[in-house]
């Protein structure tokens, strides 16, 4: 068993909650956006593509600052969310979910997009000639074929959310028990003399989660290829 100080356990539990929720909430949106990007032919497709990928290349601190400008308690969207749903994002764990979702979004979309590109369009055409409506074609042909790709996208997104630091600390700060995730906790421990001993457990956990997720995503991606080739 890994020895962790109490703040370490809190941080781990929060990180799991934040990453799990961010994955769950962003997955349907990522699926929709991946479909639009892979199949859609519309004006503004390039802009959507750029927006989705922006968090991948922007400094995370900039993304976090932009989130603060848009979703802060004095910002229009922030005020709207608080007044309508009583939902506050800035400096709350809910904001950490949003930051994690935004930062992991491009990775999830890319994984699903790749799976969609691998599906032979002729199969969807064949399903249509057999009387299947577009919705039925998607549910019975496209989705089963890309399912491992969707799962791979979720896994890689989860891992990214577990490790998110820059945007999170800028948007929701580093409040123990509220917004202190595993990376923030590691950062805090490193700021105090003699805190290094407590860090090792968290570092091991972070490496373990990241490596496990990468291996799982890789395995699931192989399954997409196998499924489309009809071997699984």
């Amino acid at each position: 068993m890994i020895a962790l100080p109490p703040e370490g356990w809190d941080a781990l539990w929060l990180s799991l909650r934040v990453a799990g929720l961010s994955t769950l909430l962003s997955l349907p949106v990522a699926l929709g956006v991946a479909l639009l990007l892979a199949r859609g032919r519309f004006v503004g497709r390039g802009i959507l593509n750029g927006l989705v990928h922006l968090p991948l290349v922007l400094p995370p601190v900039v993304t976090g600052y932009l989130l603060l400008i848009a979703f802060g308690r004095t910002a229009p969207i922030g005020i709207f969310l608080e007044d309508t749903f009583g939902l506050v994002l800035a400096f709350r764990w809910t904001g950490a979910v949003l930051a994690a979702a935004v930062m992991s979004f491009p990775l999830t979309v890319r994984a699903i997009w790749l799976a969609l590109e691998a599906v032979e369009p002729g199969l969807e055409e064949a399903a249509a000639t057999l009387g299947a409506s577009p919705v039925r074609v998607f549910v019975t042909v496209t989705l089963p074929l890309i399912a491992p790709g969707v799962l791979a996208g979720a896994v890689i997104g989860f891992a990214k959310a577990m490790g998110e630091f820059g945007a999170t600390i800028t948007f929701v700060s580093n409040i123990p028990g509220e917004t202190q995730t595993v990376p923030s906790a590691i950062y805090s421990f490193l700021q105090v003399p003699g805190g290094e001993a407590a860090v090792w457990g968290l570092v091991a956990l972070a490496v373990g989660v990241a490596l496990g997720a990468l291996l799982l995503a890789e395995m699931l991606s192989r399954r997409v290829a196998a499924r489309i080739a009809g071997r699984a």
Partner: protein, 356 residues
């Protein structure tokens, strides 16, 4: 009854056709680039043309004048593509039943196509011929009002092709679904077709009953001189020494092989380049088949060749000879001659089970 009217401008060619197809198999035949597949896709709803009119029985599937355009899934048209396009994540049974309203016909269709033993298998494990038969069955089980076959044999090698052809004949005779069959292989036209639509450069060059069009000298420029030839029908009289004697209207004919039961009717194809014309009955010739005939007409081509149309009994024969021979023999319409058919000209792949 299927009525098709389509026009479309592509970058490098224009399609403009009006076609009426009845029961049985309507063959759309032409070289690649003639517009065959565009027609198939537009009828199936997979490609939208500038002008589209598709009327199938009582139903209007497309009419640009009325702004009607049914989506593929609303057309009830079965489509068999060049590749089988089976769903890899479903079993053969799952594929067959994908478009079926109920599975009552599964047993009958699976038996008809000899795919019952494959039902539990995955498509990836099937041979090319098996996959092609499953694709046929899947399209049939969706209970289509029309079946489009877009070069269904083009991706198969000669042996697989020969394996599938009898199944297509069975479907033609037992499935009761009119079919639109796209091909650039004339042997498929002769073997399966009822009606032939010759396409060239996006236009209908010729249309009519298969046997009429194939033996029509005016269709030769479209078919190509090497493809020109007549189609005859005969009745199997007997099998001797590995040969089969058939009665055609002009006399007896011997063909290699022992295909067909005695008394059954067969289709025969006699290529124009395999027919020699003689003014007297030849003696001491190795050819087995000599039919008395009358010259109907002569057609001189642009090159050194000429086509002679012969009437033999109630059948028409085409003979391709040189213009030089034509002049030396002094042939004229009405002359009594003999058509000498080289034995090879009625080889087994060109001997077809009868359909009428």
């Amino acid at each position: 009854m299927l009525t098709i009217g389509l026009s479309h401008r592509f970058d490098d060619f224009a399609l403009d056709v009006d076609i009426t197809a009845g029961d049985g198999i309507t063959m759309l035949f032409g070289p690649s680039g003639a517009g065959k597949s565009t027609i198939a896709k537009a009828v199936g709803g997979l490609l939208r043309t500038d002008r589209a009119y598709v009327q199938l029985g009582e139903r209007t599937l497309a009419d640009t004048a009325q702004k009607i355009w049914l989506k593929p899934h609303a057309r009830r048209i079965g489509y068999v593509f060049q590749e089988p396009r089976l769903f890899p994540h479903l079993s053969v049974r799952g594929n067959l039943l994908y478009g079926a309203a109920q599975d009552t016909d599964l047993v009958r269709i699976a038996d008809l196509l000899d795919i019952t033993p494959l039902l539990a298998r995955r498509p990836a494990g099937l041979s090319g011929g098996e996959a092609a038969r499953v694709a046929l069955g899947r399209a049939l089980l969706s209970a289509p009002s029309l079946l489009i076959l877009d070069e269904p044999l083009a991706a198969l090698d000669a042996r697989r092709k020969a394996d599938i052809l009898p199944y297509l004949e069975r479907l033609r005779d037992h499935a009761g679904v009119p079919m639109l069959y796209i091909t650039h292989a004339l042997d498929e036209v002769a073997r399966l077709g009822s009606t032939l639509v010759l396409l060239r450069d996006g236009k209908v060059a010729r249309t009519g009953r298969v046997r009429d069009v194939l033996s029509d000298p005016d269709a030769v420029p479209v078919l190509g001189p090497r493809m020109a030839g007549a189609m005859l029908e005969g009745q199997v009289l007997r099998h001797v020494d590995g040969l089969t004697e058939l009665a055609v209207s002009g006399g007896p004919l011997w063909v290699p092989g022992t295909a067909g039961a005695i008394g059954s009717r067969m289709r025969l194809r006699v290529m124009a380049q395999d027919v020699i014309v003689g003014t007297q009955r030849p003696q001491g010739l190795s050819a087995l088949n000599i039919l008395p005939a009358q010259v109907v007409s002569l057609h001189r081509g642009d090159g050194p060749g000429a086509l002679v149309v012969l009437q033999s009994g109630t059948d028409r024969l085409l003979a391709r000879i040189t213009q030089r021979s034509l002049d030396e023999m002094g042939l004229a319409p009405g002359d009594q001659v003999f058509g000498i058919l080289k034995t090879v000209s009625v080889g087994p792949t060109d001997v077809f089970a009868g359909m009428d």
